[in-house]
Symmetry: C2
Subunit: 209 residues, 2 copies
């Protein structure tokens, strides 16, 4: 009996320590940015000393990986919640908006996710999952033959580049006078250029005629 409760208590303490560390780490990243994120500062903030953190996460890289994994799992559920829209194009718009919004609210985490921090650091699973979710609407559009360009990969990467550019630019220069309509303007332009506006072409032609 004490045999089991002891083991459970041990696991609980373990999880609590990890939680305290991860929470403090996420907070420091959000508030101070990655350049001012130091293991000693984290140690002071989370209630444990530095070597304890190392025993839990092995490495600064491993620690950051764990933080990112958690944060982007949030993003995945956000994207899944918004995925219901029936028209692929509406899905795309809604997902992209949610994605940009999330990235702008978590600039440091987004930067750490997209820039390779050092040798051999793969993006965390949830990051890949989010990317896959973002690609789904375009995949659907391609299967409905609604892309103006044959090369689907090229189209996907174009949208990807646009999103990444919008996010990076705005987070790198928060004080610049960014246009309010920037996301809409650029995204609609890119949509106009790359995807056909559903099969109402006949109706549209009738209207102009």
């Amino acid at each position: 009996m004490t045999l089991q409760t002891a083991e459970l208590r041990r696991q609980r303490r373990h999880r609590e320590a990890q939680r305290a560390i991860l929470d403090a780490a996420g907070l420091i990243l959000l508030e101070d940015g990655y350049e001012n994120f130091t293991m000693r500062k984290l140690a002071g903030r989370c209630g444990y000393t530095a070597p304890t953190i190392y025993s839990h996460f092995g490495d600064k890289t491993g620690l950051i990986d764990a933080v990112l994994e958690e944060v982007f799992r949030e993003l995945v559920v956000l994207l899944e919640r918004v995925q219901r829209a029936t028209d692929p194009l509406d899905r795309l718009r809604a997902q992209f908006a949610a994605f940009v919004d999330f990235a702008l609210r978590n600039p440091t985490h987004y930067r750490l996710l997209t820039t390779p921090r050092e040798e051999a650091s793969e993006p965390p699973p949830s990051g890949e999952q989010a990317r896959a979710l973002l690609e789904e609407p375009l995949q659907a559009l391609a299967e409905s033959a609604r892309l103006r360009v044959d090369d689907t990969a090229s189209v996907q990467q174009s949208f990807w580049a646009l999103l990444h550019g919008l996010i990076s630019l705005q987070t790198n220069r928060p004080d610049y006078a960014w246009s309010e309509s920037l996301l809409e303007t650029s995204l609609e332009a890119m949509i106009d250029g790359l995807v056909r506006p559903e099969q109402v072409l006949c109706e549209a032609k009738e209207k102009t005629a």
Copy 2:
């Protein structure tokens, strides 16, 4: 007489030292990236010790600023050389291509230029100059009323975001299978969506008729 030659020789030595330091610094940035750029490594590579570098450039930030200033002066002459095209849209295409090409060849320098390195580090003059050059064709298009959107700033920032995204993505993940036609696909799409195709509309309509 020796009064003058002495002063000249002093200045020459000064310039030579700065040149050796800047060249070595640029090379290290190109080869090893910024994360592996250390003042001691630079000292070992350029033939001077670390404090000498400090006496010349004050700071690591100052040193990097000097390197960037030089590199992006190259870019400015590149962009000016390509600026001759008469049609603003052709100018835009040529300049954007040259810009992306340059940035992909100097990934670390580009990243350092666009990401604020620490508190209060303004982009170097040549960087701002390059940005101004890149905005000129769009300004011309706006004045010819060839933009599909009223808000010129929004259009400029859209193109800016696309370029930045293309560059960042490709330099962050050099091994990814980027589409060969990525720049053309995305840029033409964005052009289609944002700018009118010159005043040959009547001719085009005659052709389709």
